[in-house]
């Protein structure tokens, strides 16, 4: 199980405290959206071998949701950050670029 640092309380948490919450930065589609948009929002998920952005919750801790940027292949963690953002912050993206120069994820480059 990974160790992730909760960006809210600063605790380095592991399997006894964290709960996984799937892919980060989904854009919600509600009433008025097309079938395709809604389908993609509900079901289509990235499954990369490499850089990925995920939602986690410090469930048995401070209770806060946060985001983690990590490599699914090497388990390297590039950083954790607030859940209250619609895209990975620049400093996280820069850090990834340092280690994985040609990374892409969805339409983030």
């Amino acid at each position: 199980m990974l160790i992730l640092e909760c960006p809210y309380c600063g605790v380095k948490a592991e399997e006894t405290e964290l709960a996984a919450g799937g892919e980060a930065h989904l854009k919600r589609f509600g009433p008025g959206s097309s079938d395709e948009e809604f389908h993609d929002y509900l079901f289509m998920r990235e499954n990369p071998k490499g850089v990925h952005f995920e939602r986690w919750r410090h469930a048995n801790g401070c209770g806060k949701w946060f985001h983690a940027a990590r490599c699914t292949m090497t388990l390297e963690v590039f950083g954790t950050y607030s859940a209250q953002t619609t895209e990975p912050p620049k400093e996280i993206q820069d850090k990834i670029s340092e280690k994985r120069p040609n990374w892409t994820w969805r339409d983030v480059k």
């Binding site: 199980m1 990974l2 160790i3 992730l4 592991e14 399997e15 919450g21 919600r28 589609f29 509600g30 009433p31 008025g32 959206s33 079938d35 809604f38 509900l42 939602r55 919750r57 469930a59 209770g63 806060k64 949701w65 490599c71 090497t74 388990l75 390297e76 963690v77 859940a83 209250q84 280690k99």
Partner: protein, 1010 residues
Amino acid sequence: MSTRLAKNGRLIDRSKQIEFTFNGKRMKGYAGDTLASALLANDQMMVGRSFKYHRPRGLVAAGPEEPNALVGLGTGDRFEPNQRATTTELFSGLSAQSQNHWPSLDFDVLAINNKLGRFLTAGFYYKMFIHPRPLWKHVYEPIIRQSAGLGKAPDKELKDADTYEHFYFFADVLVIGGGVAGLQAAKVAAQSGAKVLLLEQHNYWGGRAPVDGGTIEGMEPGAWVEKTLEELRGMDNVTLRDRCMGAGVYDHGYALGYERLTDHAPGQGGPRHRLWRIRASQIVTATGAIERPLSFAGNDIPGVMLAASMRDYAVNWGVTPGQKVVVATNNDDAYRTAIAMHGAGVEVVRVLDTRDSGGGSLMEEVRALGIRVECGRAIAKVKGSKRVTGVAICAQNGEGGAQEEVEADAVAMSGGWSPVVHLWSHCGGKLIWDEAHANFRPDPERPPLGADGNGFVIAAGAANGAAGLADALHDAQTAGEAAANAAGFTPKVGDAPAAEAPEENAMEAVWLMPAKADIKLRMKTWLDYQNDVKVSDVQLAAREGFESVEHTKRYTTLGMATDQGKLSNINGLAILADSLGSEIPQVGTTTFRPPYHPISMGAIGGEARGEIFQPLRKTPMYDWHDSNGADWEPVGQWRRPFAYVRSGESLHDAVNREVKNTRDNLGLLDASTLGKLVVKGPDAGKFLDMMYTNMMSTLKPGKCRYGLMCSENGFLIDDGVVARIDEDTWLCHTTTGGAERIHGHMEEWLQTEWWDWKVYVANVTEQLAQVAVVGPNARKVLEKLNEKAGGGMDLSKEALPFMEWRDGEIGGFKARAYRISFSGELSYEIAVAASDGLAFWTALMEAGQEFGVMPYGTECLHILRAEKGFIMIGDETDGTVIPQDLGLNWALSKKKEDFLGKRAHSRSHMADPDRWQLVGLETVDGSVLPDGAYAVGNGVNANGQKNTIGRVTSTYYSSNLGRGIAMGLVKHGPSRMGEVIEFPGTDGKIYKAKIVDQVFYDKEGEKQNV
């Protein structure tokens, strides 16, 4: 014969004799013996029969890599199958049984399979039993299950008599393996100030070094081990644990240790096994190496043993598997066995060295002892069945034409050494092929990576491919320094302890002996002893197209036994590579998965058994229920009374009594477990409009509304009554099992989607005790309580109408009363402070005596709601049901632009008129429908099964109606009222039920609104 030697045995205490039994036969051993060494001392060479051919099998190894010596250990509630004799320390009264034979170890009926070996090749079962299909289930499978398999499962009625525990540990450096490399690495790391944990799987330290000889810092290795241990024990930052195996290495420095505390001393008290859950900054794997067998015909006959293991038995425990030994080798190390056996007084008949040029100084030493060494020679075939009787000798570079036969009763074989790379590989460490030593070893450039992207595992010593004592210690020194550094400490950089050992000549890779062995020999040449896989099987798999090593493994079962191929994998993939005309590194290894060696299920479970399997949540009235006949039902982590059983009553009687009494008089339900979430803030109304399918923002303070919650997929996830407390505050009731889940659901949306909305959610479930006061006399009992207290809140129909709530005092208790009903009766749900719960409940019970009060449990609750046709989350819903399926369209707001689930409800499948819909079901004969039964319609599906057209979701006996009642989801149900449909039961009966309205009782709802 195998026997105890007159001398040797550094680990045994000859002054302490121990009695034990093997297959009921009394035997004697010494303190310090393993079961394996004690069996050898008693001339019990044969220890079991093989998996497939039921061939006699003996001890091959002396450690955890042993494939054959699996026994059933203990009796009754301490019986365990498949325990390794080599890792079982002998204790007084030990009782072991050999496995996989019938009727006895010596005479086995299924040994006939051995004669049929020609037909039982790889994939035999797949090919033979595929047709006709029905025969598999009824004939083949039962027979195969009876004859195959390893040990017997323990009696299912018995509970494990021992206890187990988990233990958490945090270390800067975890060193796994207490041989000389592990000790040195631990010492170097500890001297830097790092917190070090050192684990050793055996009950002795030092690994192979004390057996293999040489000198370290001028000392015998055994003395150096003692000295280093003393140093480590003197350091406060070092924790040492023997009998504790490193079982697995996982993400980001997580590791498991498996400590066997009382296996060697049953009855000592305390937990039997302890699972260490370790987080380490750096992990050093100093796990040594395992010797490989040589692949020659008859290499599985009892008496054939790994060369180093034979020497272990002689040196450590003073036993020998035979009196006339032939040694076969492709490297110098096996000469140590010749020297050790000779020194122990055992005749070494011949050393057969496959290398034309032979070995180095060790060979010279052997020759000097007068032992005959032949180079370029090999074993053509071992003679014997239950015991080695002789060896046919041939040229290694030939087809196996025997040139000579010698008498022998034991064979020592050495095919080279494979580093134990399991722990390195568990979490993604990669391997490289070392051509010179013909083995895979850790690639230091590609270690398992931690959170920071740097490696967190370092292999040391023989586990890292270091050959020889000096190299291993030097490697360990470097590993200890690197680990300390990486963990943030500054190690003293120094020289490794100086070590001396004889120079060795290069080994020669030998994958088949002799190199061009014919098919007859190859069919008797074993790769995997435990799963009975031969060289010819792997070659057949390759011919049949199983080119990937992972496919070959599954097809032949090579390496799939409980030893996970510790001995067989490298030899097997070398044969596969040869058959494919490929190189070994290109074929690659199969995946190494934890645990390294089987660990007990008890250790994995730890303390979580019985009462403390999971946390138990109790309401404030728990003890009252318990002393008043509660038959408990688990609901999530809560326990709720299913019914209160009186003496002389069955559970069913109790339920029926409670159901009738609540409708006729007065019932009390402990509803404290219902989830209670306070949602507060300027945007709370807007937020709840998104959470619920109906409109909550328009609810007036003082009023209640029943609400539904859907997931974004549109499926029902929870329901409950919402009360508006004031302008900014709502209280949302959830289902008993839903409080934490729905709280989490709300937090998720608030934190991750609408984080700018000003709303707080607090789970106050446990702050409040809640009692449902239900029945025609409900108002009377509450008014009586108020009278006795000299006043209280007005509970009349006018002051507190249905679906409203008020704060006030009832019977002197500060209370909040909700006029809500899940039973269809006049009903008040009254919340008081949790600390008042029991007093309030007791006061109600006392005051209710004259009104016929009885407590009721969850089953009565279910029946009352089913009589009224109210849905229950988890019964009528299962994660695939939408409100429309349940006729709850009225609860779906048409005014709101958006709520969770709204968009999903307009997807084509959700709007499909063929979806099954909720109806009532009434059996034609009044009986009770089986729960979960499916209704069948006309025609059959693609599998020839009858088409299903519905299923039962709730079914009960209603004592009020004197008949079975049920609800179910039925295709086109609401438009088929009056139609009778059929539900085949699992009991073979066909139940006929009429489709009716789901409200069975008080259709107009008059009783609740009085």
